[in-house]
Subunit: 330 residues, 2 copies
Amino acid sequence: MNKDIERKLVAILEILNNYTEPVGANTISKKLVEKGIELSERAVRYHLKIMDERGLTKVAGKKGRIITEKGREEIKKALVADKLGFIISKILNLAYQVNLDKDGKGNVILNLSIINKKDLKKSLQIIKEILKKGYGISEKIIIFDKEEEEIAPGIIVPEKKVIVGTVCSVTIHGILLKRGIPLDAKFGGVLEVKNHEPVRFLEAINYNGSTLDPLEVFIKSRMTSILSVVKNGEGKVLATFRELPNMARDDTEKVIEEIRDLGIKAKIYLGKPNQELFGIPVTQGSTGLVIIGGLNPLAGVIESNIEAENEAMSILYKYEDLVPIKDVIN
Amino acid sequence: MNKDIERKLVAILEILNNYTEPVGANTISKKLVEKGIELSERAVRYHLKIMDERGLTKVAGKKGRIITEKGREEIKKALVADKLGFIISKILNLAYQVNLDKDGKGNVILNLSIINKKDLKKSLQIIKEILKKGYGISEKIIIFDKEEEEIAPGIIVPEKKVIVGTVCSVTIHGILLKRGIPLDAKFGGVLEVKNHEPVRFLEAINYNGSTLDPLEVFIKSRMTSILSVVKNGEGKVLATFRELPNMARDDTEKVIEEIRDLGIKAKIYLGKPNQELFGIPVTQGSTGLVIIGGLNPLAGVIESNIEAENEAMSILYKYEDLVPIKDVIN
């Protein structure tokens, strides 16, 4: 199929996917404009008919269309050409929506992990130990344990499972952005730790060269040894690499200090202007910024041979609604 | 440590790693020049002393130094900054050394897979089925089943294991290169197959944005369903994406025809000039070339829950010394 049409169809599906009730061609046409696609109501109706035939959408009452399961699948598989670099745009779009204020109120980004209910207690124990050492973003987490509950559009707690939400490192990107500090997100990688200190990056996958979140990939490929890092100070942890303008270095340092009061205990390393950080050279005029991966606690769960399905950068959630992990398990 | 010195040390280690016997400072100094590093014999000796102290090398008789196990580890962990883009340079260096001629003689590149001896028969059955359908490069393979045998420098058949060598898709890159066709290796990805035909790429990791081989990553992350593709013509397979100049398109087609006589049954898809191929747009003036991943048969082994450790693009090996898989298992 023509790529241009394909892109329009995917855009329509994405709009429908944001609604639980049926949506009409008029609304879709308006929403498309927000996505930079100009399509008349009539043209939208034409496309919807094609999508009905392909089983991607269906008529629901007089009011409009809803997306089908097949339609949802289609979104996921949308043109890879558009998805290459997808992870970087996901980071930027989410970071932009973070609005955590100095009082600890506002939206942060959560990683979501689906765990078997029976493994919850053991998993939390592991997560707690790792967070305590700063190998995660915040000691505040959330547990969704009501089966069948829809915690966000399309995200439902499966039977006999719980969903654990932990703060994602992109949250810090978002906080810095809100203070006017521009960040260039470079890559997610595996960082070697010796004597409790990071030494150098061992592996890296660029955000703009991958359709997959690098940290999810490293966890699935079993390339971490966070348990050993927490226990002996030696091993491999997940971390992300960013660059910021040298002029913004002092402000960045200040912001990082401030967020400590909000229970954000994450290990964060700010390089020196123009100097390499953990073996990674920076662009002239820039300073390196390494933030420990928010998924490290879940890497520890996987290392313990507990099944967990992790999705990085999953949803926005109010930070004030999270609870300190020490209040959940002792 | 100073990055420049670090790089020199790693270069010296790499030289020592290519020898089984002890090597003197004189030889090392000469070999360094080939790597673009100017270092006097005396300077080399100075560095060797440092490396002895760090346990990376050791004196072996009067003749020189050998590399230690720790030294080998060091090479693996060498500066990620140098490794970013490492996979792409590995591809180019290996492709350059392919010299398979029209009579089926000469070096090809092998992927090596370590499998438990007890799983060999079942694994070969799976590999055979997948190769028969063209979801691998060649139906010729090799089995190293002599325990403790060193099949290439540093690669030893472990106890109770066998190593299976299958032809790597970079071999085809090399064959085309020998005919003067320049290829730009873009990415390794997951390709969706429907009704026995590829439809579009679902995931991709750029070769120049990763320290890891993308296809190894996709296998470890269990993102393939090659068994289903072979059985029902529907599923996900590993494939690589390259570009070539439109002017070289006809010659490329001819070469692909020719190598069919050598038992190279790989599915290869040549796009149309300037046109996208399986959802991936090409640079203006170029044609897309998709070669099925040489590791698909091993992805099938992993999908069958048989343990296998795969290393893509592992060694160069004489094609005439491989044997048709049908002669190994029926």
